[in-house]
Amino acid sequence: MKPVPFDYSRPSSIEEACALLAADAEACVIAGGQSLVPMLAMRLARPTRLVDIARLPELAGVREDGDVVVVGAATRQAAAERHPLVAAKVPLLAKVFPWIGHPATRRHGTIGGSIAHADPSAEIPLVVATLGAEIVVRHESRASTIDAAAFFLGAMVTALPQGGLITAIRLPVWRAARLGVGFHEVNGRHSDFAFVCAAAQVALDAAGRCTACALGVGGLSDHPRRIDAVSDALIGTALDDATVADAVAAALAPIEASYDLHTSADYRKRSAGVLARRALIDARQAALGNPR
């Protein structure tokens, strides 16, 4: 359980970090290291150089920018968990923190690191996919954004270009007065990797009708995904239990579920349906001011 030998650099700016990444195709970014170091220890990753961005001040912090909350890529999960702006404006992200690792790993793990790692069942990528957030990337001294829907391509495979660096995440803020979120997951032990997880955010009008709805599932296939068919079916309804159940069942039917040693494809699919339903109903109840 010892990594291969590598060089270590701690650049003092984003530009310097990008130059180091551009100079060496086998260089790898490290921030909190909570996902990367196990990969190194098992030699699943064998970089020639680690470029440590954990202490770059321009990559840390949470701020509001119009209708989005911008979270710096190297913002630690524990810092985002405690940040009042996250709790007030991006309640779905605030909701999932207790399921991400343990307090000891959230202390160092970063928001951008979890997104770059792109585990199929990780909670932060699920929230990013569900809300349709944008990933801000610096590559060859150019800044660009990639939509979440185009970012997660497969298990631990993303659209981040070779030598690119995630600098921030732009999470959309829903301004609805009646907003609710829900999140459920099944796992072997609390804080282990989820087998399947589901996240939902809904907005209701004064009459209790759904005006906006986002549902995402993680762990069902090789990357977290937003299920737009559910939103299409539910907007305009009162989100009663039966309508929610029908919409979820119809939307998940065509998705091919993955499987592994712990869970069959059939189990994942059935669990995803149940968790998605519960997440949506929790979100509805929260929006009604009557959480279950």
Partner: protein, 164 residues
């Protein structure tokens, strides 16, 4: 690479390969073998140390990343040589350990918990130690130990000076 570490309040300079984890550095270069190497990939919590007062995995950080932090290992929790901290003593009183392999991590995690939350509920305690695996006790006596330490700290009429 040369790195300057602050461990248990003492500054030391070590010469390490970049791939050496903070855990291996503490054990091999600093002689602090109380931090235990269990799984070495962040699952078991036996290597838990306090970084700026909060629990962290010493196996998930390289020593070259650890400069500038205030690192506390199990060797740094007792108020004086030959004495035990309140948390350590509570683990003895309730038989909160058997083989002892997970104990340093448990004690440090509990120490940080009680500093942040002096009156934890049972749920708070269970959540706090959820990242530390024990294969002997079944956790019951560990939870009791932490609750006892909280009770003793609350009853003490002076702040526990010198107890991190």
């Amino acid at each position: 690479m040369k790195v300057e570490l602050t461990v248990n309040g003492k500054r030391r300079t070590v010469e390490v390969e970049p791939r050496k984890t903070l855990l291996d550095c503490l054990r091999e270069d600093c002689g602090l073998t109380g931090s235990h190497a269990g799984c070495e990939h962040g699952i078991c919590g036996a290597c838990t140390v306090l970084i700026d007062g909060e629990p962290a995995r010493a196996c998930l950080m390289f020593a070259v990343q650890a400069d500038g932090y205030d690192i506390t290992t199990i060797e740094g929790v007792a108020p004086a040589p030959g004495e035990l901290s309140v948390v350590q003593d509570a683990f003895c009183a309730t038989h909160g350990l058997q083989c002892g392999f997970c104990t340093p991590g448990m004690v440090l995690t509990a120490t940080a918990l009680l500093r942040a939350n002096p009156q934890p509920t049972r749920d708070d305690i269970v959540t706090a130690i959820s990242g530390n695996i024990c294969r002997c006790t079944g956790y019951g006596q560990i939870v009791e130990a932490i609750a006892l330490a909280a009770e003793r700290l609350a009853r003490a009429n002076a702040p526990q000076e010198g107890t991190p």
